[in-house]
Every structure is written in C-alpha cells, then in structure tokens.
Symmetry: C2
Subunit: 230 residues, 2 copies
DNA sequence: CACTTTAAAACTGTCGACAGTTTTTACCCC
DNA sequence: GGGGTAAAAACTGTCGACAGTTTTAAAGTG
C-alpha cells in the first residue's frame, strides 16, 4: 500500500493513535488509498510498526470522519463517494455553514476580515497555479469556529474530511482532463466575506448557502457521467 | 458507583463494548451517574467484569455522544449541561430537524401518519401519568430517519443522548418540585404531524422549528434559576 | 496549622497473546 | 472444468501486563 514507515521524520505528534489517524486520513483523502480498499488491523499494525490497539482507535476515528465504514462483521473498508454522497455532503454544509455564517456575522471583527482576505488572496494564487490547496476548507472552518457553537463545529467535523476527499477527487479529475482551474469560488468567497463583515446575519446565512450550492453545481458539472470516487 | 454487575440477566447484546456503552449511557442519561463523575478505565473494567479494551471503546463512543469528555491528560468525566448547552442542543435540533422535516414531508405516507398518531396517543397517556417516556425522542428520530439522509441522521445522533439527558433532568426537577406534567408538546406534536402529512415541505420545516423552540421555552421556564445539570 | 516534600496508588498508552470466526486457498471428485 | 469441501491463513474481540505519568495520600518541617 505504501513503503514501510515505522515512524517518519515527523516527531511523534501526540500519541500513536492520533498520529496514525492523521496519516491514514491523509492517505485516504488524497486518494492514495482508494475507496473499497480493505483495512485490516494486523496489516496496518505492521505497516505502522505498531500494535493493534492504536490502529483500532484510528479506525474508529476514521469511521467518525465518515472515511471508512465497518462491515457487519466489523471489517473495515474505505468508503467511496457517489454523486448522491456529494449532494448529501453539500446539503449538510448548507445547513451547518449557513447557520455558522449567521452566528459568525454577529461576532465579526476587522481582524477576521483581514485574516479572511489574506486567505482568499492566497486561494487566488493557488487557483492560478492550478494547485489543490486546503485554503478553501480552512476558510470555511474559520467561519464555523468563529460561530462559537461547540455542537455545530462538531457536526461540521463529521463531514469535513469527506468534503476534502471530494475536493481532492475533483481536482485530480480536473488535472487529468486538463480543465481550467476552479477560480469561480474565489469571487464567490469575496461575496461571502463581504456579507460576513457587513454584520447582517440573515444575509450572511443566505449568501453562504448560495456559495456552497454554487460550488456543488460547479463540481457536479465537472463530471460528464456519474461521479463516483471509487 | 453502583452494585457489581458482571453481566446482568440481559444476554450479551452484540459485543461487550456495545453492551457496556449502552449500560453506561443509560446510567448517565438517567442521572444515575452524575455529571462531573470521573470514569477511570480500571474502575469501570472491574465494575463490568471486563478488561479495559471494551471499556475504552465504550468511553470513546460516549464521547461521541457528547456525554463524557476527555481531559488534557485523557481522563474521562461525565459532562454537565448548562443552560448554554441546552440552548446549543436546541439550536442544533432546529437546524437538523427542520431540514429532516422538509425531507420527510416529501416521503410521507399514510402509514407514517398512523405510526406517528399512535406514538402521540401514547405520549398523551404517559404525560397524563407524569411519566418520562422515550416516545418524544423516538418520534423525532422517526422523522429524522424518514428523511433518508445518512449524514443528517449521523449529525443528529451526535446530540440525541444529550437531548435525552436534558429531558430526564427536567423531568426529575419537575417531579421534585411537583409541577404539572409536560403536555404542551402533545398538542404541538399534533400540529407537526399535520403539516408533515400535508406534504408541504417548507411549512413542515418551519413548524418543526417552532415546535422545538417552543419546547425550549417551556423547558427553560421550568428553571427558576440557572439550569445546570451538575 | 499551613506548606512542602516524598512515597504510594492509580491511570493511560501500548504491547503481545489467544480463542472463536470468517475468508481464502488448495484439493478432490465427478 | 464445475462445484463443493476441507485445511490453512487471516481477522476481530478480549484479556492481562508493563512502562511512564499523574494523582493522591502520607510524612516531615517551620
């Protein structure tokens, strides 16, 4: 699945379980480990040079992220994303993030505008280069965090990595098909920033919803056929 | 914390971990184990006559349910509910369940009406007797499930037990203070059922939101002072 | 008595092992 | 070869153990 890496240059982050979770997550989200792949504990244990205990915890964490699923007999496999999934993810984002925007708009400060503006600027640059960046997700996370709603953030985390996985997939597809980079969202982000800073909660919510739905439209339009990450 | 129970009459449900999760969850939600209580793995292990492995998994599951929280040093303790928490739970329910109602209204059938009507009838009975029943939560879960949105259901589960915990707390308080039983919601439920069956998604969403917010009003009104489950 | 300091007790993270099942693989018989 | 069968390999659930840390309790000091 990948060359042995008992413990790469990276210093042990926190504990083994979290370190492994992070590595596996990155591999799944990036498509390095493909959907459908079976993840057996003993195999992973050897690959990471660890025992099964931390592996087990990592798998549970990944299940929580919606990246893997457990079989009836508890066997683990990487989940795949169908177009239906992508729409589900999108509709959840609309519900959660428009709520987040409404709350965040109330607490918005000049500092937030500066931070977000900087982020958008960098996204613009990345888009020009046709790079896939985490800036988009980070920006949205920024808003959700600012909302200051613990359970909202928690629910959002439940789809965060699935969303990132779909982004990575779209990006790969784009490159393969030599499409033009996805810069539409940059303008859209500017509009979102505007309303967030304007301090109009309801408008912020609506604009955020429109922004996310717009991104979905664009995303689905990229797929000539049934878009399935598998 | 409670008398030894290596394995009560109940046959082993699925696996030990889930069985323990269920028992602990019930104990926490019902207030049998009070907020703030520390849950050490070795202690629980002995209490359930199990090793630490399944206990550990149970604790992780409970954390996911929002019933316990992990310390910086990974120590586990039962979470308490402040009025702010209750409002958070309510606002999440509004967001998630109004969305669920919108989706469910589209798939509503006569059979659903029958099932829900039966449920409401039983709630009425329970309310008259001043009993705490799971029927309320069950009804809402019914709608969320019917929505047929995997991630929505998942997010809802993230607050489900916290909600139930707050209900149980309110109920206890009610009994102690000898308040009249909570029957307002029964009428409110009827209205919700009506719009769900009417097949008007938008209206269903709004009505559901109002219903949940109404329940919050009522709930907070029960507390003369800062309502804290602790 | 309040305050340290020290020793004891308790916890978490991780490991390796074993039993019971499920899945594969290899084999045999038409 | 098709189809089934039986032995082999691989998995998951659970256990007990140990090391390093954190807490708690005890003892000592001014």
């Amino acid at each position: 699945m990948s060359p042995r890496k008992p413990s790469p240059p990276t210093q042990s982050r926190r504990n083994l379980a979290e370190e492994i979770t992070g590595q596996l997550r990155a591999a799944i989200v990036s498509g390095q480990i493909k959907p459908g792949t079976s993840l057996a504990e003993p195999v992973l244990a050897e690959r990471f040079g660890a025992s099964r205990a931390p592996i087990r915890e990592a798998l549970i964490a990944l299940e929580r992220d919606g990246l893997v699923e457990f079989n009836d007999r508890s066997r683990t496999r990487v989940r795949s994303l169908t177009s239906a999934d992508i729409e589900e993810i999108c509709s959840m984002r609309v519900a959660l993030e428009s709520m987040a925007a409404r709350l965040a708009a109330r607490k918005w400060t000049a500092e937030d505008t500066r931070a977000m503006d900087e982020n958008i600027r960098r996204q613009d640059r990345a888009a020009t280069l046709g790079e896939l960046s985490h800036l988009d997700v980070e920006m949205h996370e920024y808003v959700v965090r600012l909302a200051g709603h613990r359970r909202l953030l928690n629910a959002w985390r439940g789809i965060r990595w699935q969303f990132e996985m779909s982004l990575a997939y779209t990006h790969r597809l784009q490159q393969k098909l030599d499409f033009e980079p996805h810069r539409i969202t940059v303008d859209s982000h500017r509009r979102v920033l505007e309303v967030l800073a304007s301090g109009k909660p309801e408008l912020a919510a609506k604009t955020m919803a429109a922004h996310i739905e717009g991104a979905l439209e664009w995303s689905l339009a990229q797929f000539p056929v049934e878009p399935v990450v598998a």
